[in-house]
Structures are given as C-alpha cells and as structure tokens.
Amino acid sequence: MQLEELSELAAEIQESQQHCDHCVRVCMAAGCQSSGAKVVFDALSEKTAESEHVCVKGVGCMGLCAAGPLVEVTSRGQAPVMYQQVTEADAQEVVDSLGGAPVERLRCPSDMPFFTSQHKIVLENSGVIDPEQIKEYIAADGYRALVHAVTEMTPAEVLREVDVSGLRGRGGGGYPAGLKWSTVSKMPGGDKFVVCNGDEGDPGAFMDRAVLESDPHRVIEGMVLAGYAVGAAHGFIYVRAEYPLAVERLTKAIRDATKQGFLGQNICETRFSFDIEIRLGAGAFVCGEETALMASIEGRRGQPRPRPPYPAQSGLWGYSTLINNVETFANIPPIIRRGGAWFASIGTEKSKGTKVFALAGRIRNTGLIEVPMGITLRDIVFTIGGGVPEGSQFKAVQTGGPSGGCLPEEFLDLPVDYDTLRQAGSIMGSGGMIVMDQTSSMVDVARYFMEFCMDESCGKCVPCRAGTHQMHALLDKIAQGHGSVKDLALLEELCEVVRAMSLCGLGQTAPNPVLSTLQHFRMEYVAKLQEHALPDGGPPASERSATPPAESQETTS
C-alpha cells in the first residue's frame, strides 16, 4: 500500500461516517463501567436501533471518570455535547434531544479546565474512536506514519525523527528513546526483538491500560515503526493478565492489522516483515522490570538479572532487544507523522512532549489526563483536578507509586519533568498521581508501599528480600506507636543499605516512599515516636511531660 491509497481509504471511511447525523459515544472504560455504562449503552443502542441517522458507539476512556458514565453527542455541524452521570432512565431523554436542544440537566461543562488545560497526543483518539474498528483508526490518520516510513523513509531517517523528538521512556526511568533505539539498531544483524512493556505495575495507575483498551492500533503502529527502525522482525506485547479487555482488543487489533497488510509478511508490499505476539503476565509486579519481563516471556520465573548486559545487547533468548513502555510506543506514530521537531516544541528543555497521568485519591476530578511536560503540580491538582473535596485539606501528592515519593504543598509550583521531580525527592514514575489529605498518615502511607514491595520482592537478592521485611516491621512498629528513636535511625540506615545493595530497581527504589516522607513529613514520624514510647523503655506517653526527649530533638534538627 502506498500513501495515496491509504489517504483514499481514509477519505472513503470518513465519507461513510458522514451518513449518521448524530454520533453518540458512550465511554466503556473500566471507570465508567463500574458506574453502569454498559446498561446505558444498551439502552441507547436499543432506543436508536431503528434510526439510520444515529450511531451509538462504545469508546475508550473519556477521562473524567469521577462523573461517569459519560456520554458524548456529536451532531453534524454542532459542537459536541458531553453528558455526565447518565443512567438507563436518562437514555430516552438523550435520544429525544437529538436534533434539538441538549439535555441541560445532564450536561457536563466541556469548557471546564479539566478539558481545556489538557494537551492530547497519546490520548487523541481515546474516547473518540471505537477501538475495535481498524477503520476508525485509519480515518483518524492511523497507520499513516507506518506507510510513509516503510515506503518513503530509510530506517535511519525514522531513527533520526525519534532522536530529534527528545522522547524519553514513559515507563518510569526516562531513558531517551532515540538513544536506546540507536543502540539496538547498531547491534550486528541476526534476530532482534521489539518488546512492549504493558505490565503496568504501579498499584494506583491505569494509563497503559487505557491506551491499550482505547486505541490499541496506536501501540501496534509504534512497535512496527520501531521494528523498522532497529531492524527487528518480531515483537512481543507483554500485558498483565488482569487486563482481559486490553488483551481481547489487542488480539483483534493484531488480526485486523495483519489482514490490512500493516503487520506480517512484506508490510505494504515492501521487503520489511514484522509480527507481534501477545504474552500474558501472571500477577507479579517485578515482571515490569525489563530483565524479569524477558525471563517471563521465555516462560520462566520472572526474576531480574544484573545489568549489564542491557537488553539492547543481550535480551530475549540472548538476542538484542528493544524494550519500551506502552505510552512510549504510543507517542511514536504522531512523531513520525508530524516530525520530531514538532514534538520537541512541546514540553520543557529536557522533557519533551506530554505525559498521561491517572489522577486519583482525595481529589474532585478523578480520571485520566494528558498534560504538556512542564505544567506545575498545582495546575494539575487544583486547576485540572479541581482541588480536594470540601472539608479536605491538601496534604501531599504521590507520584511514581512504590518507587516514588510524596510531595507537600511547598513543592506544588514545581514543573512536572523528570529531573525536577527527582531533585525534589520524588519521581515522574509511569503516571500514577494520588492526592492525599489530612486523613492520610504519612507513616501509614510509607508502610503501605513497603508492604507492597515486601510482597512483591522476588526473593533473589538478600537486601531486597530481607530488607523490605525489616523495614516493614520497623514502619509497622512506628505506625503503632511502639517505635523508638533508635528504630527510626535503624530504618534510615536500612533505607540506604537496601537502596545501594539491591539487584534490581524494585529494591533500589523500595526505600523511596520512606525517604521522601521522612524528608517532607518527618514530624509525623517523630510524633508517632512520642506517642507511646520513649527510647530505651522510658515512661509511657501518658506520664510524660510536654517536652520531647532530648534524643528525638537531635534527630529532628
């Protein structure tokens, strides 16, 4: 297929879509489903089944999960209208309103900052197209980058665009994608592999899931482009088994893309061939780590191994392997379509483009957002997120999940980019962002993440296996008010040991939630110490005077 043919095909599909005057989109992502989107979809479909001028579509995540189920109506020649908290009983009213005035009662103001402050690249099709129809993806400029690249660009040219874009890995590490790609492309011939990391381990985040479920073809296109650029012929997508819908959609997408000639032998009648296989995880957080993930693809226990050699040098079955995150691949098609320079014009000096965040916790507008790099945390939490609910007081925002940290109010004006967040004691992470208010104890939060790391430690190296256990025991003791100043000192020492000595990123970053809460909320730890116990068995808290013991003053100063 040549570019002109693709354009014709896209135009044809667009025209066939013109037949319907009213397009009713129902968000069918997990958030809206849990508030009853399925029955709304069924009711709307049933009530419009007779009409040729109305089409009802199930689409991916529209973002504002807090107000679900969401329904969007686009009538020809009119601005789209979004409805929130739609129920089965509202369906008739929505149908009756088509062609007339919108149902004001259900309306979700689309001029609210939640929508207007976002910048969508990765999520441009999410909530818009039907993810199960390859036609809809093609009509939205899908596979344009792929056809253009394999028929008119050399692999080196594709590489250069990715390099120029300044795209950095979205899986948490922030390693420059262009650099990784060129390392793999320079490895001498033979088999090479492209792996997409869809393990999404952060236990409070669902960005990759949303991308895979809402726009699976985008990830496939990104992977094929990667294969072309680095000279690989086989790809694997590793998806958590907990995401059955993502697996189902990907399976269909791979089948449809192969049928259309975008995947498989001789893509677009060129000499380039590339296939993709799906591999399922089985519920192990450590499998998100790249070397563990590859062990799991090979059918083994998902235990990491020391690096180097890096996967680029020796990956799957010993072959050179390019491994990137779902969101990283999802950024590739627009980069090739619109040019690396365009992408590099968005964001900050060192962090380009946009980032998808899953916004949750004590915040009004929970949901999925995509914002340009460099936006401040305050804008995300208060402008887009609408701030904390009434009666709540903002306390901290957590990013990076079990590898990340909590930042207090004073840091809210920091721009979101890889390097500033790291300097502040947190990390960008893969995109989970949880807001906490006065009801969350920071010691408790640290203990929660430590329990997670303890459960998920694969047990291969001692610092992580034993260290997370000991740190959890200490945190538990402190949280229950039995901790002493010595315990706190021991905890800090252990943090350093585990960070320095662990084999893989899981152990190396497990102390982060403790360290960041200690850095920014040390008083909460100290207050717990003073609650019930004194160092070395002093009198219980109830018999103590108001002045804290000398030793704990030392540690706080």
Binding site: A29, A30, G31, Q33, S34, S35, C65, A66, G68, G201, D202, P203, G204, A205, F206, R209, A210, A241, E242, Y243, R279, L280, G281, A282, G283, A284, F285, S296, I297, E298, G299, R300, R301, G302, Q303, A358, A360, G361, R362, T366, G367, Q398, G401, G432, I434, M436, S440, V445, Y448, F449, F452, C458
Partner: protein, 168 residues
C-alpha cells in the same frame, strides 16, 4: 535418527485436556509456552493440581520442579480449588487511601476469610488486586466479573449475598 517420544497421557479423560493440548501444540510444545499453558489449565479447571502440573511438565519436556517453580512464583496461579464466586478487592493506592481496608475487614467479619482465601464450603474466594483501573471510583471491587465503584462495606456484602443467593 530422531528420537520419538511417547506423548504423555492426560491425567484423566476429561475433554478439557484437549484444549490444553491445543494451546501447547500451537507453540510447538516449546518450553516458553509454559505460562500460557498454565493460564489455560487454570482458566479451564480453576486451579493447578499436581497431576495437571505433571502433565504439563511432561508435555513440554520440563522437570516438574520448573513448572512448580513458575506456578508458585506468579500470584495469579492457584494450587488450591477456588470458590464458586469470587470477590476481588482492589488494594491499589487510590483504593487504599479511600478505605479498601474497611472492605477487607467487612469480608473477614462476615465470611471469616482474608484476601487469597476461600470459604470452607467453596462458595466464595476473596482475592486482592492492585489497581483494577477504576481508581476514579475508589474503593472498588469486582464481584463475579462485575466492577463496583464507590463501595461501602454494606453495599459490597449485599452484592456478595445476592450472587450467592441467586445461584442457589
């Protein structure tokens, strides 16, 4: 000379083993199909017992220890039979902040099981999950495949009661 290995026989004449064999055949009985195959067995039988693991080990030419090692490494694989109904409680960060622990406590009080356990009458299994993608509606749980958001303990228990009652 090629060595002709006898095809190992399934543990019994249950028809579902045929489907397990299809999965293994599709990947040419390669050892890297182990996780896929175990998923298949668990999907069909609900859990992995020793005869099943033995059969998979022999078919893929792996030692039983390898299969056992993999089956016990991954949280999703279960070596014990599961209950008729499942309640998955999300213990991800968002749900934790919004009170997932109370749901777990409620379940323990009413049914006497922790996450990862099954009631003795094999009616209900409780499972913990880390983020089910409904963080916006935390705390969330999944009862027999249905995602429930903004849950209170009472709502959760009522829902479980209902699925158990409806099935009997």
């Amino acid at each position: 000379m090629t060595l002709q290995l006898a095809k190992p026989a399934p543990p019994d004449d249950d028809k579902r083993w045929k489907m397990v064999e299809v999965t293994m055949r599709r990947s040419g009985y390669a050892s890297h199909a182990l996780i896929e195959t175990l998923h298949r067995v668990q999907g069909l039988f609900g859990y992995l017992d020793e005869p099943a693991m033995n059969f998979v080990a022999e078919s893929l030419g792996l030692p039983l220890s390898k299969v056992y090692g993999v089956a016990t490494f991954y949280h999703l694989f279960s070596l014990k039979p599961q209950g008729k109904h499942t309640c998955v409680i999300c213990t991800g960060t968002a749900c934790y902040i919004k009170g997932a622990r109370e749901l777990v406590d409620g379940l323990r009080q009413k049914y006497g099981i922790e996450l990862g356990q099954t009631t003795p009458d094999l009616e209900l299994s409780a499972v913990g999950a880390r983020c089910i993608g409904a963080c916006g509606l935390a705390p969330a749980a999944v009862v027999d495949g249905e995602v429930l958001g903004n849950l209170t303990v009472d709502q959760l228990l009522a829902r479980i009661e209902k699925v158990i009652h409806d099935a009997t």
